[in-house]
Symmetry: C2
Subunit: 182 residues, 2 copies
């Protein structure tokens, strides 16, 4: 129901709550937290499709939240990542009774099966609870020393600078090459 992809997505999104000068790449978010970059890279397009993040292209590209963090619930994230899975898959067992000899009467499938109904209520209770907490609530709950937030910001900036420099070096290398004679 709530797998690693949702867990990782939430941990990444919490780092996007604080506004930053530059967007943050999914690879940096994964590497900061020691989690699978490929799993995170697969998850962000789903978050984007659901209107939770927006992507900025380019060398300094990356992601930002697409809405204010107080308006993005844990349920929104879980649904975006897991694709609104149901906790229970009713097989309509009640229609199978051998006494019906393959022709279930109308009354046998009238309304929602009582067992399915309990599961739907349980699922609703869980969803209601997941909807109650926003990314802002999660970010506010993360406790760290005063300078740790800045350190993370510097780490993101350093990664971006590293990429910028690598790009500049590559450009210089290309311009240094002799122009091929026509």
């Amino acid at each position: 129901m709530l797998g690693s992809s949702t867990e990782y997505a939430l941990h990444c999104l919490v780092w996007l709550v604080q506004p930053r000068e530059q967007p943050v790449s999914s690879r940096d978010l994964a590497e900061l937290q020691g989690i699978s970059p490929s799993l995170v890279a697969k998850t962000f397009p789903k978050l984007q499709k659901a209107g939770i993040v927006r992507s900025m292209e380019g060398v300094a590209g990356g992601y930002r939240l697409a809405r204010t963090p107080g308006e993005i619930s844990v349920l929104n994230v879980a649904d975006a990542v897991e694709g609104r899975k149901s906790v229970f898959d009713c097989k309509e067992v009640r229609r199978n009774c051998v006494l019906f000899e393959g022709e279930p009467p109308a009354w046998s499938a009238h309304g929602v099966c009582g067992i399915h109904a309990v599961m739907l209520r349980a699922e609703k209770a869980m969803r209601t609870e997941l909807a109650r907490t926003s990314l802002l609530d999660l970010a506010r709950g993360v406790k760290f020393p005063p300078d740790f937030g800045d350190q993370v910001g510097e780490w993101f900036a350093g990664r971006l600078e590293g990429r910028e420099q690598a790009r500049m070096t590559a450009v210089k290398d290309r311009t240094r090459r002799p122009v091929p004679l026509g």
Copy 2:
């Protein structure tokens, strides 16, 4: 979280709510409902271990509820069958931050991770809802024509009689065989 085994177990248990002269075998419960007898056969020992059913040995053997059906909740059945699974498996991502260089400070894992805490609340809400409904509630919710309950009772009795007759025939066959000379 709530798989076919729990679904089938609940459907079977609902048929045990009405007291019957004879216990009912798991095979008959499965065949009545057109569901996998082997899956049901694997599930009943778990229900027995959890004190939900008790088993009667012998040719006319089978299962009865071990407690009054009003005291057996859907949650009891799900826990017995699924083994009290958690909907979320927290990987303590917060301890992995690359800035800790493999040595997470004490504050990084203080208390329950906020994301884990939301999942625990969601799980609790779901469990509370599942605990609210008993087998008696489920049985009362099953609507069928007045004579259908009797037809099912007769079908169970017929199955038992069939087994009794098969056993008698086997006994007769054995006694008819000539006694081997010493």
